[in-house]
Amino acid sequence: MSRFIQLGDPAQNEMLAELYQDMLDHGFGDDTPINWLTSQSSRPDILAGTWEFSKGMLLRGELPMMVKQMIAATIAARNNCIYCRELHGNTLSMLGVSEELINSCVTDPELTSVQQPHRAILQFAVKVSQSPEMIDAEDLGVLKAQGITRSEVLEIIALSAYCNFINTWADISRVKVENGSASDEA
């Protein structure tokens, strides 16, 4: 159980029912939305905001969804957020990403199996997440040399910071990993 109330049946609240349906329509759950979202279900007003934020960061924009999920899995591992690491790792599997590549993202500080430009993107994203104040022109130059546009850089920065948000909420709410994997009780 989460530290916060998780409503499985939203029937008593029209706003929550609409939100749940939108989440399921976007693949964020099977019968009910994922635990990260339902842990906010006692506050549909807040959930509506964080859901819009999540759609903007994870589903929309210019970066391919696979790259977004790689960033989310890699930062979750660096932040030691087991829930988010599992969730985004599983999403990468569903997108057809190899286990070797996923493992490199979540266990290998050197990201050895990650090819360019993805490695440069992930290294930059981790730096934003861990030491944003250290980002400088040289970091931007590395991305530019890999063909990453300024618009995409802005998206990587926002997504990396967003990952710090979702990791914090997952940890403080103690939501359980979906489908009860071994790390469920970690």
């Binding site: 006692s42 506050r43 807040i46 929309r60 850089v153 967003y162 914090t168």
Partner: protein
């Protein structure tokens, strides 16, 4: 939770979002980080997504807006995020919060001038932001004992979580305009 001076109550504060806009267009205008201004101009879609969460988390809800601003300010202070410190301090000043109280949040580890209930919230928020995986259930009990209900505790945790987004995002110093 009963509101009490010196934090004031939301009823005394004009629309908080309008106040925020005024602060950003006034005293904070020259300090807006490049990442924020460039995102607004080049990627309004991202900016809009951020504001969709920021509005209910920071400007609405059960906890007084002043307490929410104080949570972000104190987390920013611990992360040394200059812009976030300044903007949320400016918000608190615009709400009429005394300088001594604001300074107590930032400069005094024991926050002696902060009323006990609010001090409890701020200490909890700091733990959420800095070590969310290791917060004991006891910390939640302390909040309940202080008179907070579950809705308010959720909000305090959510504001602190969102502050971790804000201080990361706005702390990127690189010039992204050129």
């Amino acid at each position: 939770m009963k509101h009490s001076k010196p934090f004031g109550s939301d009823a005394e504060i004009e629309d908080a979002r309008a106040l925020f806009d005024r602060v950003m267009q006034g005293p904070m205008h020259d300090q807006i980080p490049s990442v924020m201004s460039t995102t607004l101009s080049m990627r309004p879609d991202i900016f809009s997504a951020i504001m969709a969460a920021g509005k209910p988390i920071l400007f609405e809800g059960a906890l007084p807006v002043s307490v929410k601003q104080m949570i972000v300010m104190i987390i920013a202070s611990h992360r040394n995020c200059r812009f976030c410190i300044d903007v949320h301090k400016a918000m608190l000043e615009a709400m009429g919060i005394e300088d001594a109280l604001i300074d107590s949040c930032i400069d005094d580890p024991e926050m002696k001038l902060v009323p006990p209930m609010y001090r409890q919230i701020l200490q909890f928020a700091l733990l959420v932001a800095e070590d969310p995986d290791n917060i004991a259930d006891h910390q939640f009990e302390l909040l309940r004992d202080s008179g907070l209900n579950e809705e308010e505790i959720l909000e305090a945790a959510m504001v602190a979580s969102f502050a971790n987004f804000l201080v990361t995002w706005t702390d990127v110093p690189a010039n992204l305009n050129g």
